[in-house]
Symmetry: C3
Subunit: 281 residues, 3 copies
């Protein structure tokens, strides 16, 4: 169906998705230039697809595998036994630790660190002992991860990011976290160890998920919310303190420290006014 201009008439339920489609056609990502820069260091045992591109000052470790048409940007360091799928795009200065597995069509932005040790420590004789972190990070297909985001390797099992997950910048994903497919997380979020987040969740910026929780599918978390217990039902959850002019904020915040006492005082007033009536009815 075309109108007088000859252009197709746009009839779509979701104009933003339509725009994304069209803009994606008009602005295809730059293609990998087949070849390895002379100033890259690639271990002899690594397998790099012929049509992959490896930029200057990139390092690729023992037995690493770089899939077809993938791009390893300048200054990236890819550890031993790492696998990158096809059409992967690592922007400059990404680090992937040993043994991690990255699916196809994954995009990692600059400064991303995949597979650093999780924060596993145990107190013994007044000193912290390091708990070896021997799991991996496994990232599914079609995942995009923003600049300077960090995803720690698992302690024993793996940290898992399922397909289609989209992570913004400066997110911290701790060891053994599991993020379900097609969940999107905005910038500056921290997810603590072993949390399990469902599919199609949307998590607002600067939120936090406490460790060892489970969050159901299709849960939406507002910005700046700390999730302190499991969420079993889809829906929207919030927990930011409302901001105000400093003078008002100070007055109200000061009362907050006496809120329990205030509730007690209201209870006393209620008893004074009502108990006789109640006992008779």
């Amino acid at each position: 169906m075309r109108d007088a201009t000859g252009l197709p008439r746009v009839v779509c339920r979701d104009p933003y998705a339509y725009f994304a489609h069209v803009s994606g056609l008009l602005n295809p990502p730059p293609q990998a230039q087949a070849g390895t820069h002379a100033d890259a260091v690639i271990d002899a045992s690594a397998v790099v697809a012929e049509d992959a591109e490896v930029g200057p000052f990139a390092v690729i470790g023992r037995n690493a595998r770089i899939g077809a048409r993938s791009l390893v940007g300048a200054g990236c360091v890819i550890g031993h036994d790492v696998t990158l799928g096809e059409d992967v795009r690592l922007h400059a200065n990404v680090t992937v630790y040993d043994g991690c597995v990255i699916g196809s069509r994954v995009i990692l932005h600059s400064g991303v660190v995949i597979g650093a040790d999780g924060f596993g420590i145990a107190m013994s004789d007044e000193r912290w002992l390091k708990v070896p972190q021997i799991g991996r990070v496994v990232i599914g297909n079609d995942v995009e991860i923003g600049a300077n985001t960090t995803i720690d390797r698992g302690a024993i099992d793996d940290t898992v990011i399922e397909e289609g997950v989209k992570l913004d910048n400066q997110i911290q994903i701790a060891h053994n976290v599991h993020i379900g497919a097609h969940t999107a997380i905005a910038a500056c979020v921290g997810v603590a160890g072993s949390a399990k987040i469902g599919r199609y969740c949307r998590i607002g910026g600067a939120s936090g998920i406490v460790g060892h929780l489970t969050i159901a599918d299709h849960v939406e978390i507002s910005a700046h919310t700390l999730v302190t217990k499991s969420i079993e039902k889809a829906g929207t959850y919030s927990g930011a303190y409302p901001f105000d002019v400093n003078r008002e904020w100070r007055r109200n915040a000061a009362q907050l420290r006496h809120l329990d006492a205030l509730a007690d005082r209201v209870r006393v007033l209620e008893q004074k006014l009502t108990p006789p009536k109640r006992s008779k009815s």
Copy 2:
């Protein structure tokens, strides 16, 4: 005017600014050493000023321009068509994506990422589509940006940081944000997409600015505050939950979940005590 010691007598309104002046004279920043390290990779089409310094393992892309006396530190990756002004100082391991523009006397600390893709995604058929991010980041003169801070490129228009802005470490600036001249932002702040922050603002650490808001000039935001709507008037705004001994915090925070009900109960008490009088007066 000198006193008996022969030293100038310090008579100044702001001793800290005076200290900054004097300390700056006594501790000038190290100067760029003219020349390009043999282990840098500079595209033949790039224009690097003769007296600029390019460190080892730095990469400079097609048609990039590096101004007079600028320093590109070791391991920096400067994309295609990037412009750096004069006397710019990029510490080691900075990444600047294609097309970004950086003014004169700008300082970028290590780990900074300028121009990564903004978080533009649209849901279509139960999958996220990537919205191409084709704007740039444009940074004015005399800006300083702290370690591991990230500034995303615009979706269509540019992300703009005006002259004299000072950003601390680990700040996240999303696509199409506009920060007015001489605003200072402390560490760990997140500014969501298309927010417009005025001139001479001061934003405390770990605060968040929700997307598509406007903040007036000379606004001060306290630490850990989430700004959820536009601020049209200069002043100080706050929104952190007051901390307390855990036992007290638990009592008060539990009541917080019944605050609306508590307000209702107070209303009922007021009606019991006052309505007859009110209706007569």
Copy 3:
């Protein structure tokens, strides 16, 4: 004491610490491979232990000292006059600015930046002046620092991280902070300038410590808490806003803005009900 299997019977107060011990024995960290990669740039005046390992595209500055068996990973940039102790392990793409001192057995994960300038600025004639940051970062023995964490150099004195401190990922430590021995800090925490944190503290994720505070030894801070004044007594302190279903949260948060007025109304009710009795008693 051994049981029928011949294995020592496990009788221990803390099974997690025991697990850490055993797992550490079974999973020793990879050893540095003595030698310097041909593609590293090491200043002639630097002293690198013979059995240290320097990876490809690493840079080591003037008068730097790299201790025995230490590993400087690929892409690391070590400034002038830096000292690394023995058995130090720098993962890929770490940056250490000039003059910093790092003890023995320290582990720095990828993307860590040690010694960037603190956020020292002074307003003068409507422009920010930079206050030179001429202190160092001094890190004790047995410290581990997670991916993309940043520790700024002191303004005049040093920023100090005492022995045995464990820092998770994406933490920001500002200039002149002092962290006591064996304190552990979870991810995404920000510590503002000149804060002094005691020994054996445990600080939860995404918390913030305001500048110029003192925190006693053995203090525990819950996640997402902003500490706004000094803590003089060991104990647990909290300050996160409790999250809720969005509808409930909106109701309660709206009342929060009238909390001071609500307390006044309760006071009025109390006076109406009780003053005569009080004045007589």
